[in-house]
């Protein structure tokens, strides 16, 4: 795992039919810590994350991740909903390893280690859909961890969880970042952003309006859109105004 996987985005555009979602995002992420993306609903955070992962193809502009324009194969994405298959916890982790071309022994070992890592070793054989909400999201994280990803993308991973479960997830994410995984986190939870992130990107109406260290950006935003979002003054209207 490289120390810091730089993500360089230039003029990134995305539209659905006639509706523009991203309007030319420029940002350069070089920090080795966690990068948070914040912004109002409809600002384009989730779309940006999916473009980075390659789930969506941009309608304009470029994304470079390290030396490539595609994310590394080990990249993991954890969604707001855990996205589990009706199979055992272990099987859910195993299927995340299928495309990585590992031997059967290595795969089984990684599955065991991942479940141990998130504290679900004893639930390995349990049906994933029978786990509690918090356990399910831990399983989703185990699935990501097992891939030993260079890049981990998180889209509001704790939005559906209670505070205790959220903290477990946060700790797991933090430990992966410390171990060298580049983490990009989309979150509405500014407390979580403060706790986890090193730097923060503020999106408004499909543009990256601000990018800086987390403390200074959250406490004294320079752009009017970031200020509006952080003080809750201008929730959605900015989109119409700018497009």
């Amino acid at each position: 795992m490289s120390a810091a996987l730089p993500i360089v985005i230039e003029g990134l555009r995305y539209r659905v039919g006639d509706m523009p979602i991203l309007n030319g995002i420029d940002m350069s992420v070089t920090s080795s810590g966690i990068t948070a993306i914040i912004g109002a609903n409809g600002a384009g955070k989730s779309v940006l994350l999916r473009l980075i992962d390659g789930l969506l193809a941009p309608t304009g502009g470029t994304i470079r991740i390290g030396p490539s324009d595609r994310p590394p194969p080990s990249t993991a994405f954890v969604f707001q909903r855990p996205g589990l298959v009706r199979a055992s916890a272990a099987a859910n982790v195993a299927l995340a390893l299928a495309p990585l071309g590992l031997g059967a022994g290595e795969r089984a070992e990684r599955v065991r280690a991942a479940l141990r890592h998130v504290g679900l070793a004893e639930r390995a054989g349990a049906p994933a859909t029978r786990l509690s909400g918090g356990e399910q999201q831990r399983l989703a994280l185990a699935r990501a961890w097992a891939r030993a990803p260079d890049l981990l993308l998180l889209d509001e991973p704790t939005a559906n969880l209670d505070p205790a479960s959220s903290h477990v997830i946060e700790d797991l994410v933090a430990s992966m970042a410390v171990a060298g995984t580049k983490v990009v986190l989309v979150s509405h939870n500014l407390g979580q952003v403060m706790r986890l992130a090193e730097d923060v990107v503020v999106l408004a109406a499909g543009l990256a309006v601000e990018h800086g260290p987390v403390r200074s950006t959250l406490s004294s935003p320079r752009s009017p859109q970031a200020r509006a979002y952080l003080t809750g003054e201008m929730p959605w209207t900015s989109f119409a105004a700018l497009s």
Binding site: R50, D53, L55, P73, T75, A76, F77, F79, R81, G83, V85, R86, A87, S88, L95, A96, A98, P99, L100, P127, A128, T129, R130, R143, R147, L153
Partner: protein, 231 residues
């Protein structure tokens, strides 16, 4: 009517090995057709659901439309194909259980594929993005979603079994209703009706209904048992 019913139950009690053999053939033909139809239809429907390709909506529309193919038309087309004078005549399949299995397979593949496509497409809504983000290709995603939706797919397969075992048009035309070779429950019921032996026809009808009930109850039990174990 009461007389008929009384007579029916008397005949039901006296059902002989011949009826058992006919019921066995019906089961063998329809289970084989549904087995083959499942092996073809489920992966087909799932692949259509997970992969993006030009003409996908057309394929979906065709599958949905083909669910309603009239059995007798399928039987007729297969008859012309399998007849000694037809392109596949060399197989010598006409008037054999093999021909009936082929006809019912053609009958159930679109039904299974169309239902599987819908079921897998619904699961895709929830899981598709997750699976694609793991870098899984269409074939693997289809396989995983088939596994994920296996309990719903059982219902689709049961529907196909019900359609297969209760149809008469296709098996009659390609099987020929030959005594001891290709006589199934439905063709036997039709024959007894034609002979005016309504109590026996009704007795056979009750046997057919019982078969369908037993098969679907068994599948439902297995399914709920598996669901309890595997959520």
């Amino acid at each position: 009517m009461f007389q008929t019913l009384e007579e029916t139950f008397r005949r039901l009690a006296a059902l002989d090995p011949e009826v058992v053999a006919i019921a066995g053939l019906s089961l063998r033909v329809s289970l084989s057709a549904v087995g083959l139809g499942t092996l073809v239809g489920v992966p087909l429907g799932a692949l259509v659901a997970v992969s993006a390709f030009p003409g996908r909506r057309l394929v979906t529309g065709c599958l949905n439309a083909a669910m309603g193919l009239p059995p007798v038309v399928i039987g007729l087309v297969l008859y012309l194909l399998l007849s000694r004078s037809g392109p596949l005549g060399g197989l010598g399949l006409l008037f054999t259980p093999g021909a009936m299995i082929a006809a019912q397979t053609v009958l159930v593949v679109p039904l299974i594929a169309a239902l599987a496509r819908q079921i897998v497409a619904d699961a895709e809504e929830h899981l598709g993005e997750q699976l694609r983000s793991l870098g899984l290709g269409p074939a693997r995603r289809a396989a995983i979603l088939i596994y994920d939706t296996r309990f719903s797919l059982v219902t689709a397969i049961l529907a196909a079994f019900g359609r297969a075992i209760s149809e008469i048009g296709a098996v009659l035309v390609v099987g020929g209703n030959i005594d001891g070779h290709t006589r199934t429950m439905t063709t036997a019921i039709s024959l007894e009706t034609q002979k005016g032996d309504l109590p026996l026809a009704l007795a056979l009808g009750l046997v057919l209904i019982a078969i369908v009930l037993v098969v679907s109850a068994t599948a439902t039990l297995l399914r709920s048992h598996a669901m309890r174990a595997y959520g």
